[in-house]
């Protein structure tokens, strides 16, 4: 049986800034965007205005396929509602911090195929999360 969903929150902090607004606009439109460098060709996460590999300021955004693999995870037991935090490696390359949702946390494994979902946050933007494929 799937574990219940913890409420996710930005706790009132600014969710976006001019540098990251396209990423969050993408989330609002149901798309996960990955920043890619047009000079060295490498994608990265979290998104920056300058490529963290070559400092080029020539970058674009690509839409992620939504496919990923669990790199590592932990189920937080000391919480009102237990939740699964994870690093997921996207098919596009970068590994991102996220939550795994809508599943039985006891069945999670490293290497498991997962797919993108969006989950609402309290009073804020939808967040990219993943669920077993």
């Amino acid at each position: 049986m799937a574990d219940p969903q913890r409420a996710m929150s930005f706790a009132g902090m600014p969710e976006t800034n001019p540098e990251t607004k396209p990423y969050w606009d993408g989330c609002a439109a149901g798309k996960l965007l990955v920043r890619r460098c047009l000079s060295c060709g490498k994608p990265h996460h979290y998104p920056r205005a300058l490529c963290p590999f070559c400092f080029s300021d020539r970058l674009d955004w690509i839409e992620a396929s939504g496919k990923g693999i669990v790199y590592s995870f932990s189920v937080m037991q000391r919480a009102e509602i237990r939740y699964a935090i994870a690093y997921v490696t996207l098919a596009e390359g970068p590994t991102m911090m996220t939550n795994i949702v809508d599943c039985d946390f006891d069945r999670l494994r490293i290497g498991m195929d997962v797919v993108l979902r969006f989950a609402p946050s309290e009073g804020g933007l939808p967040l990219p999360v993943f669920t077993p494929a």
Binding site: M8, M13, Y46, S72, R78, I85, I110
Partner: protein, 389 residues
């Protein structure tokens, strides 16, 4: 710049308190400073350099320098989290070598236990401008679940087990039983560690360090001043520092920045891991120790689980006596920052002043290593090599 012959640690003091609801944070800093000066046989007026990190209340060093009423020639407040104080020892030694000060005071203090802080289990909201925050905070990263992901990945890649991690806590508890000030003095078994409640899988309650009030202080001084004092000499002979993060999304949780700070410190000192008689190794969690032991070169990457098992970290039993004060896992983790106690116990060992039950015979070369921030996201590391004499 090499550090051999440039600076000594002449004073070291660990505050005996583990819960201080009746004291202020600034007061604890001052009591630690006084304790280290008494240990060295120096006075407040001898101090001409002051070093602190993020636990010091106020802007950088300003409030504490004013509160302590120090007249200084040099200050430094580099913060890399819990391991800052090892880095500050190196920076103090460099400042002394450069002639910028002669007697450098380093203090740490805090009261997370009295304040009821959920140190490891609650997400922390940082500076809103922190660039990573919006991509992490909503997912509720905490200290424990971040280190837990490191443990899980190491288990996946190398077959490390919870029982092997438990041996690290067992060794710390074997040492803590002799420390009258240790928060946890009961010896525990591997079975007790793995049977303790999961906090964030796969880490159990007994894989986590203690939460304590208190603090510590160190005095790093010019060698001719150290020689004029009535204390055994302890010299700083090697130092290294490094920072590791998520590498733009090329995340690898199986190693730490000790992979870089360790070899730099060994190279500067001209010694190897096999020469080390005693090691203070940062122990916020059991997995912290295991990763750093590998990265510092005490065993090959992936061999840490087998290395720490069967009491290999217990003084008088194993090859690498570690954290003979009981460490952060059992003794003390003041202000949620274990770096200064790592240096203090290494100094005790080199002076021959550790508890007789855990004193390493003829301990003439020690390593102290600290980490700060979170191994699961971004962290700093600092390694010191210290020599008797």
């Amino acid at each position: 710049m090499g550090l051999k012959g440039k600076a000594c640690i002449a004073g070291a003091f660990e505050h005996p308190t583990r819960k201080a609801p009746d004291k202020s944070v600034a007061q604890l800093h001052a009591e630690c400073a006084k304790g280290a000066l008494a240990d060295a046989g120096l006075t407040k007026d001898d101090v001409d350099g002051y070093f602190c990190a993020g636990d010091a209340p106020g802007m950088g060093p300003l409030s504490m320098v004013d509160y302590l009423n120090l007249k200084l020639r040099h200050v430094d407040a580099t913060d890399i989290g819990g391991g800052s104080y090892l880095l500050l020892v190196a920076h103090a030694a460099e400042a002394i070598a450069a002639g910028r000060c002669n007697v450098a005071l380093i203090t740490l203090a805090g009261r997370p236990r009295s304040e009821g802080m959920a140190t490891g289990t609650a997400p922390r909201l940082g500076n809103p401008a922190q660039p990573d925050l919006q991509f992490e905070y909503p997912y509720a990263p905490t200290l424990v679940n971040m280190y837990a992901m490191c443990a899980r990945r190491h288990m996946y890649e190398y077959g490390t087990t919870s029982e092997q991690l438990a041996w690290i806590k067992v060794a710390a508890s074997q040492h803590a039983q002799y420390n009258e000030h240790a928060l946890l003095r009961d010896v525990v078994t591997v079975e007790q560690v793995v049977a303790s409640p999961l906090v964030a899988s796969p880490l159990h309650r007994l894989d986590c360090c203690v939460i304590t009030d208190g603090g510590g202080a160190l005095l790093v001084v010019k060698p001719d001043i150290a020689r004029s004092l009535q204390r055994p000499l302890v010299s700083v002979i090697g130092a290294g520092e490094a920072v590791k993060g998520q590498s733009g999304g090329e995340v690898d949780l199986t190693y730490t920045a000790a992979r870089w700070s360790g070899p730099a410190a060994f190279a500067m000192a001209g010694v190897t891991p096999a020469d080390i008689k005693y090691a203070s190794i940062y122990d916020s969690f059991t997995i912290t120790v295991l990763l750093q032991i590998e990265d510092l070169g005490f065993c090959a990457k992936g061999e840490g689980g087998r290395f720490v098992a069967d009491g290999n970290l217990i003084s008088g039993v194993g090859r690498l006596p570690f954290n003979t004060d009981g460490g952060g896992l059992c003794n003390n983790h003041p202000a949620n920052r274990g770096g200064i106690t790592k240096v203090i116990e290494a100094v005790r060992q080199l002076r021959g002043e550790a508890h007789p039950k855990v004193q390493v015979p003829n301990c003439d070369l020690a390593l102290a290593h600290g980490t700060g921030g979170s191994l699961g996201t971004r962290h700093g590391a600092a390694t010191l090599i210290l020599e008797r004499g």
